[in-house]
């Protein structure tokens, strides 16, 4: 699984951080998404898919 984010689309809602705390964070100055782990392990795969699903700006893409 590979996580790809589009920073330009991100509106810093923070939903991804709630969904998958070990994989996503927010940049201090403007809240834009930071990917902590581009290739997350299988045990958090569901959380990461959920993070992509709840992103209101559709800024997270998962390549399976």
């Amino acid at each position: 699984m590979k996580v790809v984010v589009d920073e330009d689309k991100c509106v810093a809602a923070g939903q991804c951080v709630s969904a998958a705390l070990d994989v996503f964070d927010q940049r201090e100055e403007d809240g834009i998404v930071i990917v902590l782990d581009e290739n997350p392990p299988a045990e958090v795969a569901d959380d990461v898919r959920n993070a992509a699903a709840v992103c209101p700006a559709l800024a997270i893409r998962i390549e399976e």
């Binding site: 809602a13 201090e28 834009i32």
Partner: protein, 410 residues
């Protein structure tokens, strides 16, 4: 205009239809029924126009993230929520609410910094402290009491004031003026006067913070004014939006959420068993879904002709997205009328969807997790001090659903 596309004898749903007084926590029955017809239908609004109503959960997501629709409320045909807004709209400055695309991103990013999830998480102890102090005070005071004035309004107010750097001692003044923003019975004149009073107050505070900054959002805005990134009127407007938005919505969720839980004792007793305010999170999401207090519908206008869910939307057509309908769509939430605090409800639309999704949602979530995780444990005998039928719910056309007073006893 949308009107001409309707068959002359076509019956359409009148959007301001009231909730059923017997089930005040549920969306208006007529609104729910629309989902059985189609995810997108026509509805009539207060000015007689007939915008599209997007009620299906999947359709709401699709339309709210579609770049072919605009939030620009000055465009002719935009389905404005009420008369006062229609009279004032041409004076509305560009804000996060009515900007599209790059303009929206620029404004939103200026406002985002204090509201990121990691920052909000650092506020949890402070939210807990305010909550405990307010509950202490409530328990030491008269019984019965009004939960709105004892806890539901002061908590979000204290938090937004602490974040913005607004003195809480002035709360009577700004709460009164902030409440106009969500009322449907205001006149255009009331609206202008309230925003002028609030704007004057905040502009003065920003001026003070340009000289003596603190560690708060208004000081951040003041620094940007000094650097020439923002004008003083722009900074004032951003501050006003944050102050208004930080008040009524969380307060209403605390009040109406409590009334709802008291009516569902099994769910409430399960909630009381959880002694970690973070573990209350799924319950908070379900209550957000169930109540969807931002009830009045997101407003948009089509920029171009396009086909959507089997209908032809034309450029200039108004579009209303009533969020409660999506949150009670049985295809997304089976048996939506069942309050189930263990339901996985994180895909709800209580904070909207798309680029305009609520900026303060992480603050709201933590406030609600702390209150729902604390109040009913600390006051296990909490109950209504009046009959439910006596509760005065706000009218269905108020921008936020709510109860004016919640008399409780313990």
């Amino acid at each position: 205009m949308a009107e001409t596309q309707l068959a002359p004898d076509e019956q359409v749903y009148y959007y301001q239809d009231d909730r059923d007084p017997k089930c005040p926590f549920a969306p208006a029955p007529g609104l729910r029924a629309l989902n059985e017809k189609a995810p997108i239908t026509r509805g009539r609004i207060w000015d007689g126009s007939t915008p599209w109503l997007v009620t299906g959960h999947a359709a709401q997501r699709a339309i709210l993230s579609d770049p072919r629709v605009s939030s620009d409320d000055k465009q002719p045909g935009f389905p404005l929520p009420n008369q006062a807004m229609a009279e004032n709209v041409q004076h509305h400055p560009l804000t996060i609410f009515n900007a599209d695309g790059a303009d929206h991103t620029r404004i939103r990013r200026m406002m985002t910094r204090p509201f990121t999830r990691p920052r909000m998480e650092t506020l949890r102890p402070k939210i807990q402290q305010f909550t405990d102090e307010l509950i202490d005070k409530m328990l030491a005071g008269p019984n019965p009491t009004d939960l709105v004035t004892a806890l539901a309004l002061p908590l979000p107010s204290l938090m937004i004031c602490a974040l913005l750097g607004v003195p809480y001692e002035d709360h009577d003044f700004f709460q009164e003026h902030a409440s106009f923003a969500t009322r449907s019975d205001k006149t255009a004149e009331d609206d202008r006067r309230a925003s002028e009073a609030l704007g004057g107050y905040l502009a003065q505070l920003i001026r003070v913070k340009m000289e003596t900054p603190g560690d708060d959002v208004l000081s951040d805005f003041a620094a940007r004014v000094k650097d020439g990134d923002l004008t003083l009127p722009e900074a004032t407007l951003l501050a006003m939006i944050l102050l208004i938005a930080g008040h009524e919505t969380s307060a209403t969720m605390i009040t109406v959420g409590t009334a709802l839980l008291l009516e569902n004792p099994d769910q409430l007793s399960a909630l009381r068993e959880i002694d970690d305010t973070k573990a209350v999170a799924p319950a908070v999401e379900e209550i957000l879904r169930y109540l969807t207090v931002a009830q009045f519908g997101q407003r948009r206008i089509a920029r171009e002709d396009f086909e959507f869910e089997g209908v032809q939307i034309k450029a200039g057509d108004g579009i209303v997205v009533p969020l409660p309908a999506g949150n009670w769509d049985p295809t997304a939430f089976p048996e939506p009328e069942k309050l189930d605090l263990t339901r996985k409800a994180t895909h709800h639309h209580a904070f909207g969807w798309g680029i305009h999704q609520c900026l303060g949602q992480q603050l709201a979530r933590i406030e609600l997790q702390v209150v729902y995780g604390t109040l009913y444990r600390r006051v296990p005998t909490l109950r209504l001090a009046v009959d439910r039928d006596e509760l005065a719910f706000r009218p269905a056309d108020a921008l936020a659903f709510g109860i004016a007073e919640l008399p409780v006893t313990w």
